[in-house]
């Protein structure tokens, strides 16, 4: 508990939350700006989700990304929002690794179309996953506030 209260750690956590939150808001915004079917095609190109789930996922995921991004930045429901970001990052990372190692030449779809999956994509998303797991772990360790 003492370590959670140390100033450098607190500021590091705030910085990570803001960075992760901003990235998620931007990612959701880019997808919402474009036709939902374009993102649906991107999801479908991974061949990991049953086709009947592709449309609901394409229509809701960008809104969810914006929502958790905002919650993360504001610091509201931090346990829930950081855990949601971690789960999403785990899923994205698994999909990206699967596509890369099975030789699929597809676009990442992380920030709209046109970004082929590369080592850079894995490095970026891997770093984000590590950051989100750290934020989640610290949020779960944080003592609950009394109502």
């Amino acid at each position: 508990m003492a370590s959670y209260q140390s100033k450098p750690l607190r500021w590091t956590l705030v910085a990570l939350r803001v960075i992760l939150g901003a990235v998620f808001i931007y990612s959701g915004y880019v997808k919402l700006r474009e036709p939902w079917a374009l993102f649906a095609m991107g999801i479908d190109s991974y061949h990991m989700l049953p086709f009947r789930l592709v449309e609901p996922m394409a229509r809701t995921l960008p809104w969810f990304e914006v929502l958790v991004g905002l919650l993360l930045i504001v610091g509201l429901w931090l346990r829930l929002s950081s855990a949601a970001v971690s789960v999403m990052m785990l899923v994205f990372m698994t999909a990206i690794l699967h596509a890369y190692f099975t030789g699929q030449q597809i676009s990442c779809g992380c920030f709209g179309p046109g970004e082929p999956i590369s080592k850079w994509t894995m490095l970026r998303d891997g770093s984000m996953l590590a950051a989100s797991l750290f934020v989640t772990w610290m949020a779960l360790r944080r003592p609950r506030r009394m109502a």
Binding site: P35, A37, M41, S45, Q105
Partner: protein, 196 residues
């Protein structure tokens, strides 16, 4: 006035740099609200699927009613030995208005020439003797290879890294699609982009 002239001087080379579209490599009405450029390779199996399964659906649903204009673009992949030769004949055939016939034959008989390399008999089968002579002559024209290279470079500049890649243009917006998209999703996207 001076500003207008300066803008013209700057813009004219840009306009000149846009490669002219050979009408034989297009389908539909050029003034259609949506344009789809298809970057493909005659040797690529997914391109064959798109050409034989998706393209006829697009034709019926959108091209014939004048909603979509399709432009074929050459994107010869390095991994296929006879792609450039096939494109050479196809682009040459386009110059005598026989592109679609040659493209259909190259995709239909892909397995016949893709590995063995006997491209010409497949092309010749859909041309008259006079047309065969013209196409063979035109295929040697450096301008034909230059056109293929220009389209390849255009695709690379647009971020194309695999085939088939479709780029949908509606108004001023361009959307590169993932390779071989599901038709129902493609339909949803086109319907969403069409003017209401």
């Amino acid at each position: 006035m001076k500003l207008y002239a300066a803008a013209l001087v700057v813009l004219l080379p840009c306009l000149a740099a846009v490669p002219e579209i050979d009408k034989a490599k297009t389908l539909g009405n050029p003034t259609a609200p949506i344009r789809i450029e298809i970057f493909s390779d005659f040797s690529c199996p997914h391109c064959k699927v798109l050409h034989e399964n998706t393209l006829p659906l697009l034709m019926t649903d959108y091209v014939v009613p004048g909603k979509v204009y399709i432009v074929d673009r050459a994107f010869p992949l390095n991994g296929y030995k006879f792609s450039r030769e096939a494109f050479g004949y196809a682009v040459a055939a386009a110059r005598i208005g026989k592109y679609q016939q040659v493209a259909n034959a190259l995709f239909a008989k892909q397995s016949d020439w893709n590995l063995a390399g006997n491209v010409w008999p497949v092309v010749a089968a859909v041309l008259s003797p006079t047309e065969q002579k013209k196409v063979q002559e035109l295929a040697k024209d450096p301008g034909v290879q230059a056109e293929i290279e220009a389209e390849l470079q255009e695709g690379l500049a647009a971020g194309v890294n695999s085939t088939p890649t479709m780029i949908v243009t509606a108004g001023s917006k361009r959307y590169p699609l993932p390779p071989a998209p599901n038709y129902s999703l493609l339909k949803s996207m086109i319907d969403g982009l069409l003017p209401k």
